[in-house]
């Protein structure tokens, strides 16, 4: 997209700015819709209606909430570390925003076509940890500190199984670029990585179950990375009040909020891109049938977003069903189960890829 834009504007700087803004155009409406969806999903799962008053079936509720948050007083307690306190929410948001640079929404709508996209995503999401630690420490609040420390421990730990799983997929596809990976899984859904890729041979048959395991591990650890139930330790409401963002209010709080929902979609999108064909349609394109090139792009965008949204929905579903694990159980799940399993899985996938 950057290349096309720089040709259009004739200046790489303007093109960079424009292509940097595109994900924001997606994130803000997405968050508004996702928060509304979360409330409606929660409501209907809990035998109640959810928001009903603002607009038709409460459709404007999150918009109203957004404006309410904007207008709220920005409270900063006297004994906080102002510098870090102010930077932290933006750093957290920057971390989750940076991930969008490498997400292929369609075959041409892609922030930056870097070859090491996956690597970049893993690295950039590390920023979130720094932001959360900053927020917890600078708040000068014991609950915040606990939340931040838990969060740091959790995200760092769960990055290991994530990376191992990514590694096994990379071994199989031999590319680190998400765009290329998506391109490889074209045509029909049985060509997706979770079903062993596009080539029909013995490898495909052997590798499918292990790819499914890899997907499961990836999804579980991604839940932990975005601090969603059952792994929402850092903000475990009943213990730590609100965790690292206890002391935040108004616009800074909404930054954390924005980052959380942006992250939810980001990890779902990554899972979709590396396992479930990315933007590829499961049944082929209408655009190709009638020969309309632009329609293919629209379809790809539709498929990418709807696959991502489905997994966002699954995250919500889990959140409103499951209790929360304890902090030591959380670590046990990671170090004693997920990491060994993913290692074994890595080795098996490696062997299968070789033969």
């Amino acid at each position: 997209m950057f290349d096309a834009l720089s040709e259009l504007f004739g200046s790489p700087i303007i093109a960079a700015f424009v292509s940097a803004i595109v994900p924001l155009v997606f994130i803000v409406p997405f968050v508004i819709i996702a928060v509304y969806m979360e409330r409606k999903v929660a409501g209907h799962m809990q035998d109640r209606l959810g928001p009903m008053r603002v607009g038709y079936h409460g459709i404007l509720q999150t918009v109203a909430d957004f404006f309410k948050l904007l207008q709220k007083e920005d409270i900063t307690a006297s004994s906080i570390d102002k510098r870090f306190f102010n930077v932290a929410p933006f750093l957290v948001f920057a971390g989750s925003y940076a991930v969008y640079a490498a997400l292929p929404f369609t075959s041409s709508m892609l922030g930056s076509k870097i070859d090491i996209g996956l690597f970049f995503i893993v690295a950039a999401s590390g920023l979130v940890v720094a932001g959360i630690l900053m927020a917890g420490w600078s708040s000068n609040n014991k609950y915040s500190l606990y939340g931040a420390l838990r969060s740091a421990a959790q995200i760092v730990s769960y990055e290991i199984p994530t990376i191992i799983v990514i590694l096994s997929v990379v071994m199989f596809t031999r590319t680190l670029s998400l765009a290329e990976m998506s391109e490889m899984q074209t045509a029909y859904f049985w060509n997706w990585n979770i079903f062993g890729g596009a080539e029909w041979n013995l490898t495909k048959l052997l590798i499918t179950p292990f790819m499914m395991i890899a997907f499961l591990i990836f999804y579980i650890s991604s839940l932990a990375e975005v601090n969603r139930t059952p792994f929402d330790m850092p903000e475990a409401e009943s213990e730590l009040v609100a965790g690292y963002h206890t002391e935040y209010s108004g616009i800074k709080f909404s930054m954390f909020f924005l980052a959380e929902y942006a992250n939810m979609f980001a990890v779902s999108a990554i899972a979709v891109a590396i396992f479930l064909g990315g933007y590829q349609s499961p049944f082929g394109y209408v655009g190709n049938l009638i020969g309309a090139e632009w329609l293919v792009q629209v379809e790809q965008l539709f498929w990418f977003i709807s696959k991502g949204m489905f997994f966002v929905f699954v995250q919500m579903w889990l959140r409103w069903t499951l209790p929360r694990v304890r902090v030591d159980q959380l670590m046990t799940i990671c170090w004693k189960y997920l990491i060994p399993y993913s290692f074994v899985n890595l080795i098996i996938i490696g062997i299968i890829t070789l033969i």
Binding site: D47, P323, R324
Partner: protein
């Protein structure tokens, strides 16, 4: 390097202290060394007020102690005053009191179980249980007009007779509610994560429990088959056939948080059984015929105790022969049950404190009075 223990104040405003309770935690990392509860934030001088009121005027104040089980607070108090006066209450009144008391027990347990789920992080069971609790409150509302604080049981009688539809509606409620216990079990009780969080946590041995005066479901969860409705029967509880569920350590050790939770789940079914039997036997009669015109007990004192949903609710009433009680002391079950929190929590993690506190099921209105 100089190190010191981290003191963490949990409360008075905290999502899982169930009211204005302050727990002072001495922590080493996330491990709790000592818990010091600080109570009294909701102290309303009930006992001082009672000394300035006439006997019937005290009843609305008892409502406000354990506000989740107001019926039962009324129940205990009026039994005490009736004992002092030496009056017999009509059969119908007795039966209605038992029905109300057991409905109240279900309602109270529903709050306890729901908020416990909330403490562990499961939000949905809470709303499912509150949905059913609302139905019980509606039954109370058609009976006496109030949903939370009833002032329903009077000395020697009741404030209102049953609504003509009450029996039918209650039967419908029981029929509707029974399957929901299974739903709760599927959703929360046997959930793997929930069991992991609560089994083997905060184990309370029977000896310690008795020594600390723990009562109610908490005591029974430790394997002690002790229920005042059976062991020290009051009103007409000796006429009903019901079982006393005790903790069996099905998921871990006897007397752990899961047992305390599960005993309450089992008690729901037993309460339904008692209500069914009471509805079948409900006699006709006037519920206000035995209410004395003037309540002026002779000099003396009496200690009565009833099996409140939270445990043993005791009223120690001293009469000096006037229309005002000379002294009313309430032995609030939550007050006694909370005193064990330090014993149970030592060596557990912060997250477990929440699980333990929730499993004791306290109501601050009753602790602070």
């Amino acid at each position: 390097m100089k190190t010191e223990e981290l003191i963490l104040n949990m409360g008075p405003q905290h999502p899982s202290t169930h009211g204005v309770l302050r727990l002072e935690l001495e922590l080493e990392g996330e491990v709790v060394n000592k818990v010091t509860p600080h109570i009294g934030y909701l102290h309303r001088c009930f006992e001082k007020h009672a000394e300035a009121m006439t006997y019937p005027q005290v009843i609305p104040y008892t409502d406000r102690m354990d506000y989740l089980a107001s019926m039962y607070n009324n129940f205990g108090y009026v039994i005490g005053v009736e004992k002092l006066l030496g009056i017999e209450v009509p059969e119908r009144v007795q039966y209605i009191r038992v029905i109300m008391g057991e409905l109240q027990r279900i309602a109270s347990h529903l709050v306890a179980l729901g908020t416990y789920g909330l403490d562990i992080g499961a939000f949905t069971p809470f709303l499912y249980l509150f949905r059913d609790r609302e139905k019980i409150l509606t039954l109370f509302e058609i009976t006496c007009g109030a949903r939370l604080l009833y002032n329903y049981m009077w000395v020697g009688g009741l404030s209102h007779d049953l609504h003509p539809d009450f029996v039918r509606l209650t039967r419908e409620f029981i029929k509707y509610y029974r399957p929901n216990i299974t739903e709760l079990n599927n959703l929360l009780t046997f959930n793997k994560i929930f069991v992991e969080r609560t089994a083997n946590i905060g184990v309370l041995p029977a000896e310690t429990a008795i020594n600390y005066g723990i009562s109610g479901p908490n005591l029974r969860a430790s394997g002690v088959k002790f229920d005042l409705r059976r062991n020290d029967p009051y009103s007409i509880y000796d006429r009903f056939d019901f079982e006393i569920p005790v903790g069996e350590g099905m998921m871990g050790t006897v007397g752990d948080c899961w047992d305390r939770y599960y005993v309450r789940v089992l008690e729901l079914e037993q309460s339904l059984r008692i209500i069914e039997q009471a509805l079948d036997q409900l006699p006709e009669g006037d519920v206000q015929s035995a209410i004395p015109k003037r309540i002026k007990p002779p000099v003396g004192s009496v200690y009565t105790r009833v099996e409140n949903p939270k445990g043993e609710l005791g009223y120690f009433i001293i009469s000096d022969g006037s229309v005002n009680p000379f002294r009313v002391k309430v032995r609030a079950p939550s007050f006694v049950n909370l005193s064990i929190i330090n014993e149970l929590s030592r060596g557990h993690l912060v997250a477990d404190i929440v699980a333990i506190l929730g499993s004791i099921d306290i109501v601050l209105g009753e602790i602070d009075r």
